[in-house]
């Protein structure tokens, strides 16, 4: 009895909140973007000196597959972050593809993405010796 209360509390609140949000305002989506595991991937990467790039990349890919065709877009930076992970994993082709996706989805990133794409091409041209 006593143990069940703290569990019930928040879920009741959330139900109330969700109901109120849907009925109260005409616009149901509460966030602009479908975030998936991107915040966690960022936290792992920044706090744990890179973390496990392969695992983070596969989690992000899973999320992208799940949310394909959904109304809300991937958040700013998600594709760019995937590109970083793929660079660390040595997969330049996928890295380039995700840099281009970031640029297409968010033209605000164009200057930076172009710089990275230029560097990627340069290192790809110089690499094997």
């Amino acid at each position: 009895m006593a143990a069940s209360l703290p569990i019930r509390g928040p879920s009741v609140w959330l139900t109330v909140l969700a109901t109120a949000l849907i009925t109260g305002c005409a616009t149901p989506p509460s966030t602009l973007y479908d975030w998936g595991t991107y915040p966690q991937a960022l936290a792992v990467h920044l706090r744990q000196a890179g973390g496990d790039a392969a695992r983070q990349a596969s989690l992000l890919e899973e999320h992208l597959q799940r949310s394909a065709g959904a109304a809300r877009a991937a958040p700013p930076g998600l594709h760019a972050h995937l590109a970083l992970l793929y660079t660390q994993l040595g997969n330049e082709a996928l890295a380039v593809r995700h840099l281009q996706m970031e640029k297409t989805l968010y033209p605000e990133s164009a200057a930076y993405m172009d710089l990275l794409l230029k560097n990627a091409r340069k290192s790809a041209g110089e690499a094997p010796k």
Binding site: P10, P39, L42, A43, L46, R47, P76, H81, A110
Partner: protein, 225 residues
């Protein structure tokens, strides 16, 4: 049991009141505290590595990661922070202090962002003055236009783990915070990081009287009819 019912009904009232107020009062405040920000209308923000004034070495990484969500949801394009960090590192920029020395012209040239967010972490982690060991995160921030170096906005926010215990955390904000905590807690046991997330949302996510203005990608304030 009766306490529980009272809490829920109290929450209901505050939620309903909040929604009624929330939907109606989205007009701009009478006095504009940030005319430069309104005029500059930055679309993209570069989150700089935060300067750490605390003994906890985790603080800058934690806040840099936590700033992305509220800034993006506020309608700004946030330059991918881990990638930015990597670019800085590869160019010999080792510390946040080094990063802050880079001129706005150079930042604009490399990253192409309209504005940069500079954060100073005043406190992060346990506060030893208090008998109970509460986690407190306090951040000061300023948004600088990378096109002309003007300061567009300044803000400050704080969050404490002690708030979770306070039962006056009712209404919309209480429920949202609860949701945030639960969402993050499943992936991180680190309380400081969670509290940093709440501080970041307060700093960047709320369009209060002195809060950031919504960015160009924000949903229109009034639903279209």
């Amino acid at each position: 049991m009766s306490i529980c019912i009272r809490r829920v009904s109290l929450a209901l009232i505050t939620v309903v009141a909040g929604l009624l107020g929330g939907c109606a009062s989205v007009e701009a405040p009478s006095a504009d505290p940030w005319p430069a920000l309104r005029e500059a209308r930055p679309a993209s923000v570069l989150v700089m590595p935060p300067v750490n004034n605390t003994p906890d070495v985790e603080a800058p990484a934690s806040l840099m990661a936590q700033a992305v969500y509220p800034l993006s949801e506020a309608g700004y394009y946030v330059m991918p922070v881990a990638l930015v960090n990597e670019t800085l590192r590869l160019n010999g920029v080792q510390t946040p202090q080094d990063a802050q020395q880079i001129s706005v012209q150079r930042l604009r040239q490399v990253f192409g962002a309209d504005a940069a967010l500079y954060m100073d972490i005043r406190s992060y982690g346990s506060v030893y003055r208090v008998i109970s060991s509460d986690s407190v995160v306090t951040v000061d921030a300023r948004l600088v236009d990378l096109r002309d170096g003007r300061t567009l906005w300044t803000g400050s926010a704080s969050a404490s783990s002690a708030e979770q215990r306070g039962q006056q955390q009712g209404g919309l904000i209480g429920a949202l915070l609860q949701a945030v905590i639960e969402q993050v807690a499943s992936n991180f046991s680190d309380r400081n990081h969670q509290v940093a997330g709440i501080a970041a949302r307060r700093l960047l996510g709320g369009f209060g009287a002195r809060g950031l203005l919504p960015g160009p990608r924000a949903l229109p304030a009034e639903p279209k009819r």
